[in-house]
């Protein structure tokens, strides 16, 4: 059996202050649910900066190489054509004309690849069930999730520490450990 504390605050700054206090006492905060990004919460509860931007760069580079390779293959290798006196002899000579499509395709791959990665990593996909503990967390309330299994403190001490912060509402649930 573990106890799950859902600590609700009615202001983002109150939650931030409370999180700092609790973490300084060695309490581990599992998760924060908020209607909008709370700036400054990530380092407090130990969330590292996402690597999504790196993936986007990799997708862009794949798109770029794919586009250049494909244009070289169709226009120069497979079926070279003389269009309006502008023959296709080598990649280098034709490169200026290939810039727009290379750029567009890099952007295409970067944007879509990054968004797909984002949705998969988040586990937010069409038809997924919502997991926020209280419907008010998408409106104007902010919830912090603390559990006994990730903390060395016992339930009573945790509860009294939590109650010292500026809590709006506190719900405690017993959950079977899986």
């Amino acid at each position: 059996m573990k106890k799950v504390f859902h600590v609700m605050y009615d202001d983002d700054e109150k939650l931030l202050v409370a999180a700092r206090e609790l973490v300084s006492k060695g309490i581990h905060v599992n998760e924060v649910y908020s209607p909008f990004p709370i700036h400054g919460i990530d380092p407090v509860i130990g969330i590292k900066r996402t690597r999504l931007a790196i993936t986007s760069f990799m997708y862009a580079m794949s798109g770029l190489s794919l586009a250049v390779f494909f244009m070289w293959y169709t226009m120069i290798s497979d079926w070279p054509m003389n269009i309006g006196g502008k023959p296709s002899f080598s990649l280098l000579e034709n490169l200026p004309a290939f810039i727009p499509v290379s750029f567009e395709f890099s952007v295409f791959c970067a944007a879509h690849g990054m968004v797909i990665t984002y949705l998969l990593r988040n586990g937010t996909l069409p038809g997924m069930p919502a997991t926020n503990p209280d419907p008010r967390t998408t409106d104007d309330k902010f919830v912090m999730e603390i559990t006994t299994d990730t903390n060395s403190m016992n339930a009573q001490d945790l509860e009294s520490e939590i109650k010292k912060t500026d809590v709006f509402e506190l719900s405690i649930k017993d959950v079977k450990e899986s």
Binding site: E13, E31, Y33, S34, P35, F36, P37, I38, H39, D42, I45, I47, R49, T50, L52, A53, S56, A60, F70, M71, T74, M75, W79, M81, I83, K86, N94, A97, F98, P100, V101, F103, E104, F105, V107, F108, A110, A111, H112, M114, V115, Y118, L119, N122, G123, T124, L125, P126, G127, M128, P129, A130, T131, N132, P135, R136, T137, T138, D139, D140
Partner: protein
């Protein structure tokens, strides 16, 4: 928390709380549809159906039912295409470029401007599609393997660049818009009570729960998407302009085209945003979020881009004379004094003179004047494309092939029809979608909300 100068006008008027923002935006979606909305969507759907009928008539009969002829092979169709693409430029410019410049006022308008972008680009895509004549062979524009014909597509051609530019622009704008909508759909999901609506918003919100890690990724994603969408915005209309600029038609063969088209696009896009939002803010009682200051900011963008367009018109005239090419100078003399001079002078008045009125603070901050001028600008920008396309084509090198373009009822019907389809889509959007980026707005409440600002002054 970011601080903002106390003397700067607040971006959110009234003494709002987080809950008020949710209620103001979600309220109209949860409540019943207003009578005005029902009347408007009925009218626009009738126009849309007429437009679809005209398109079907065109496809089944052939593009001869347009007023096109051997000399003027591009007219209303491509004019409408360029006009709609131009209008489609404001949305991504607002959400991407203004995000990079950290302009907080974008948050009140980006959602609906992006919706407008998406619908405008759909309307734009209709025209090259039906202009092909045999639309069922439209897949030929994509680089498909040889079984479909003996040749690959020509990657040297700006028309093909356009295929890539428009499809990239459309799909990237769509995902950028949707990613921002997910958290707002979650807000609606948690507030509607009707089971069907709850189910639908549940599916559309992708199970968003607002976890800290997800917000962390969300912010990174928005920033990177804005970074790559910014050059995309500029590239799209540059490429559209190259459809003309890389040809050898006097009047089209101009190196000034890319920047000139991009600023024209931003100019008309912002004008259309003004037209739509001035009505929407009243109808949905969003005056506290989209107020005079927002309108003024947009008018400043309109005056800047409008002046760039004006300079481009004058430069074109000067260069046509200075180049010493007689065909080039004839094209421009013919533009302002030939059979289409009425269109040219309409364009000049609407695009160069009328936006200059915004130098007056009174006019810039007047909602009525802005609404009228925004429509004037849109008319002017339509005429700009018409002038560029038709006046350059109707005088060939051979006087025996000189011709004129007269629009037919089908030309008019399809154009009016796309306006109807566009409005129908936009009205449906305002009814079922959160018209403001409400969760994003909550982040600026404490730095730019009226009650919080007053506290700073004390």
């Amino acid at each position: 928390m970011q601080k903002e100068s106390a003397i700067r006008e607040p971006l959110i008027l009234g003494h709002k709380t987080y809950k008020d923002i949710t209620d103001d935006v979600v309220g109209p979606i949860v409540g019943p549809a207003s009578l005005g909305w029902k009347i408007l969507i009925t009218i626009s759907s009738i126009i849309a159906i007429y437009g679809i009928g005209s398109i079907l008539y065109l496809i089944s009969t052939g593009i001869g039912v347009w007023g096109l002829n051997k000399t003027v092979g591009w007219a209303w169709d491509i004019t409408n295409f360029v006009w709609w693409v131009g209008i489609g430029h404001a949305g991504t410019l607002i959400s991407a470029v203004l995000l990079l410049f950290r302009q907080k006022w974008r948050m009140a308008i980006n959602r609906s401007a992006e919706a407008m972008t998406i619908f405008a680009v759909i309307m734009a895509a209709v025209f090259p599609g039906i202009h092909m004549g045999r639309i069922w062979l439209a897949y030929y524009v994509f680089p498909l393997p040889n079984q479909f014909g003996s040749l690959w597509v020509n990657f040297n051609s700006p028309l093909l660049w356009d295929v890539f530019a428009i499809s990239t622009y459309f799909s990237v704008s769509l995902v950028f818009w949707y990613v921002g909508l997910i958290p707002d759909f979650a807000t609606i999901r948690d507030r509607v009570t009707k089971p069907f609506a709850k189910k639908m918003y549940g599916i559309m919100s992708f199970g968003w729960s607002g976890r800290a890690k997800h917000w962390n990724r969300f912010e990174e994603l928005s920033l990177v998407l804005a970074g790559i969408a910014t050059p995309l915005v500029f590239s799209v209309h540059s490429i559209v302009s190259m459809d003309f600029a890389t040809s050898v038609i006097p009047g089209w063969h101009t190196t000034i085209f890319p920047p000139y088209f991009v600023s024209g696009a931003v100019f008309s896009g912002f004008a259309m945003v003004q037209t739509l939002l001035l009505v929407m803010r009243k109808a949905y009682k969003l005056e506290d979020y989209i107020h005079v200051k927002h309108v003024e900011y947009m008018n400043i963008v309109i005056i800047v881009t409008g002046s760039i367009v004006g300079v481009a018109y004058l430069t074109e005239l000067f260069i046509s004379w200075y180049s010493g090419v007689e065909y080039e100078s004839y094209a421009f003399i013919n533009r302002f004094s030939g059979p289409y001079k009425a269109a040219y002078w309409t364009m000049m008045t609407c695009n160069v003179i009328s936006p200059q009125l915004f130098w007056f603070k009174k006019i810039r901050r007047s909602l009525v004047a802005t609404f009228i001028l925004s429509i004037v600008v849109n008319i002017g920008m339509w005429f700009e494309r018409y002038v560029i396309i038709v006046t350059s084509l109707h005088r060939d090198y051979l006087p025996s092939s000189w011709g004129e373009f007269i629009p037919t009822a089908t030309d008019v019907g399809i154009f009016i029809g796309t306006l109807g389809i566009f409005l129908t889509l936009f009205l449906a959007f305002t009814r079922f979608f959160p018209v403001l980026a409400l969760n994003e707005l909550k982040t600026i409440l404490k730095s730019s909300g009226e009650s919080y600002k007053n506290e700073q002054v004390k």
